[in-house]
């Protein structure tokens, strides 16, 4: 299903700009919205956009939005998506910077943000399962589990950079054939 540019802009604007917890949480929310709820993208289109946005320099979330917009409506979709996903949150950040001392005095605002940050942990965990779950099949669970576990080990304990981890995963993925 191909959305209008207006609907694409609304989704990017809503999810891309108002999700706390960084780009991973926003991409998780976008996956749920665009794949599970609206069926704009199928799983393989999402996987392609997600994988490539991780190896694109800069902000992964904006690269993902650009990729999703491109798949849905080519150039116009890509531009609308990246503008809608970036302008409002950038304006909020700019406004908070200008009025930082004022905002910092409102304790209720800080408390509301704390609540949103706690929800982001749940969003990130749900996202992890929504992405990994489909790859845990009877045939492929060993390969998938080893890749995920190795990635976590390299990131958390060996402090290897994300790009290098992705590179290692790509090489492993190339040589370790999926069971047929």
């Amino acid at each position: 299903m191909t959305p209008s540019l207006g609907r694409l802009a609304v989704v990017m604007l809503r999810i891309g700009n108002f999700t706390f917890g960084g780009g991973a949480a926003a991409v998780a929310a976008l996956q749920r919205e665009m794949v599970s709820r609206l069926h704009w993208l199928n799983e393989s289109q999402f996987s392609l956009s997600y994988a490539l946005s991780r190896v694109t320099p800069g902000t992964n979330q904006l690269a993902f939005c650009t990729a999703a917009g491109w798949l849905l409506r080519r150039w116009r979709g890509a531009l609308i998506a990246v503008l809608a996903a970036s302008i409002p949150s950038c304006l909020i950040t700019w406004a908070v910077t200008v009025g930082f001392d004022v905002v910092n005095r409102y304790s209720m605002m800080r408390i509301a943000i704390s609540g949103a940050m706690a929800a982001s942990v749940g969003i990130l965990l749900a996202s992890f399962w929504l992405i990994v779950g489909p790859h845990i099949t009877r045939k492929s669970w060993i390969r998938s589990s080893v890749i995920v576990a190795a990635t976590i080990g390299l990131s958390l304990f060996a402090e290897v950079t994300p790009v290098l981890v992705l590179g290692v995963a790509a090489v492993a993925g190339f040589f370790w054939n999926e069971p047929t």
């Binding site: 780009g23 704390s114 949103a116 992405i131």
Partner: protein, 177 residues
């Protein structure tokens, strides 16, 4: 400071990083150490602002732009974070045409799984920072369950969590935020 130069400095930082705060050392070197356009305190404040506003963590660069060159600086920073994202299009075209090849498929699947693993690793420091007191744990678990078993819009989950935290605090619930 010259808008174009500021844009190029931010673009250099943005292009040489692949996640959140990875560009921070380059920004510090260029803007704090070499050009004295902002202080370490400004940079720290920018990072704090980037963490407390919605959107990607990398948006602290907008605050840096504001400190370095006012609204024009913030605009240069915005352009610098948007520009690299367009690079995904040629990648998409290249990989998309080969997406049905079994080798490409299995490489992409491995990268997707690794990306999920990296995101989970990044969740742990966020969880350590965000989960303090029973209410924050309850909110995180409730968000997880709601997102996995219902079709409720994520935005409502986020707003609901913020509202719940404020109400609990206002009622003086023990262990609230």
């Amino acid at each position: 400071m010259n808008f174009l130069l500021l844009y190029l400095l931010f673009l250099k930082a943005s292009m040489s990083s692949f996640s959140g705060l990875a560009a921070l050392p380059i920004i510090r070197e260029d803007l704090v150490v070499k050009r004295h356009l902002l202080t370490d305190r400004d940079l720290n404040t920018a990072v704090v602002i980037g963490r407390t506003t919605p959107g990607p963590k990398g948006l602290y660069i907008i605050s840096v732009g504001q400190y370095a060159g006012g609204f024009a600086g913030a605009t240069a920073a915005w352009l610098a974070i948007v520009t690299p994202s367009l690079l995904v299009i040629p990648l998409l075209e290249f990989a998309g045409r080969r997406a049905d090849h079994p080798k490409v498929k299995q490489v992409l699947r491995a990268v997707v799984l690794a990306s999920a693993g990296i995101s989970l690793s990044a969740t742990l420091p966020l969880a350590a920072d965000a989960l303090r007191g029973w209410l924050s744990y309850a909110i995180a678990v409730a968000a997880l369950i709601i997102l996995l078993v219902t079709e409720v819009d994520t935005l409502w989950v986020i707003f609901g969590a913020g509202l719940l935290a404020v109400v609990a605090h206002s009622l003086g619930a023990p262990g609230s935020m």
